[in-house]
């Protein structure tokens, strides 16, 4: 009997410790997305001079798939490159991040948005130095999706 009681006690202790560990693990799992959201401003990505470098810095080396689920609403021709209205709606599940990049700008990365409850939608006004493709890259369930639109610029906006 005594041995059984002893065994039971150690089992209880074991379970208790196990639960405590699991709780800590779960708590850190919960905290993780918050930390990711409050991350530092991604300096390297914003200072990249090439679109590939910026994407590499933001998302690692993952390959992006062209997607029709990213809908871009922007003019095909902009008179003034200093303010080009740009809207993107992403019809993909669990979008965590969306990045907007202008290929021919000195610094291609314009803006990133990290989502924690808001709809995967982004609307802004951006500067374009010259006629260029504008890319939207969305991260959905760990995969990258990309779409682009060419915007003609009559007067550049990065002088």
């Amino acid at each position: 009997m005594k041995i059984v009681a002893e065994a039971n006690r150690s089992r209880r202790v074991f379970l208790k410790n196990g639960l405590a560990l699991a709780a800590i693990g779960f708590a850190s799992y919960l905290l993780k997305p918050l930390r990711a959201l409050a991350a530092e401003w991604p300096k390297n990505a914003f200072e990249s001079k090439k679109i590939d470098e910026a994407l590499q810095s933001l998302f690692g080396g993952a390959q992006a798939t062209t997607s029709a689920s990213i809908r871009i609403n922007a003019p095909y021709q902009a008179e003034n490159g200093a303010t080009v209205r740009f809207v993107a709606t992403i019809d993909l599940p669990n979008v965590s991040t969306v990045a907007v990049l202008v290929e021919k700008n000195e610094r291609p990365l314009v803006m990133t948005m990290n989502y924690a409850g808001a709809e995967p939608y982004i609307s802004l006004r951006l500067k374009m130095a010259q006629t260029s493709d504008v890319y939207v890259v969305a991260k959905s369930q760990g995969k990258l999706y990309i779409a682009k639109q060419n915007i003609k610029v009559t007067v550049g906006g990065c002088g």
Partner: protein
């Protein structure tokens, strides 16, 4: 502060989706531009972070670069919002300057 630098406006459609518009008076100086008189580079001065909160909880965080236009107008969308939901936006720039604005969904103005 004489004038509001950060303005926030909401527009709710019948299905309960609310678009939140944020307009900030900010130079968004790139650091690449030359001063036309001195030919010296104008130092960068631009917003880097913009955080959107719904009832005190972060729902979206934007990282901004130099190619966001002067006086940024940025909007996000929230689904299933209710009248009386509190919306707050905070921003900070590369010089450590910051500001915030608040509004309530359903209020006019």
């Amino acid at each position: 502060m004489a004038e509001k630098r950060t303005r926030i406006r909401t527009k709710t459609t019948d299905d309960g989706t609310t678009e939140i518009f944020v307009l900030v008076s900010h130079p968004m100086e790139t650091g690449l531009r030359l001063d036309p008189q001195t030919q010296a580079k104008v130092p960068p001065h631009f917003i880097q972070k913009m955080t959107f909160l719904l009832n005190g909880k972060e729902v979206a965080i934007a990282d901004l670069g130099i190619a966001v236009s002067k006086d940024p107008l940025i909007s996000i969308r929230l689904k299933k919002t209710k009248r009386g939901d509190r919306i707050k936006v905070l921003w900070s720039d590369n010089k450590g300057d910051k500001d915030e604005a608040e509004t309530t969904i359903g209020e006019v103005g």
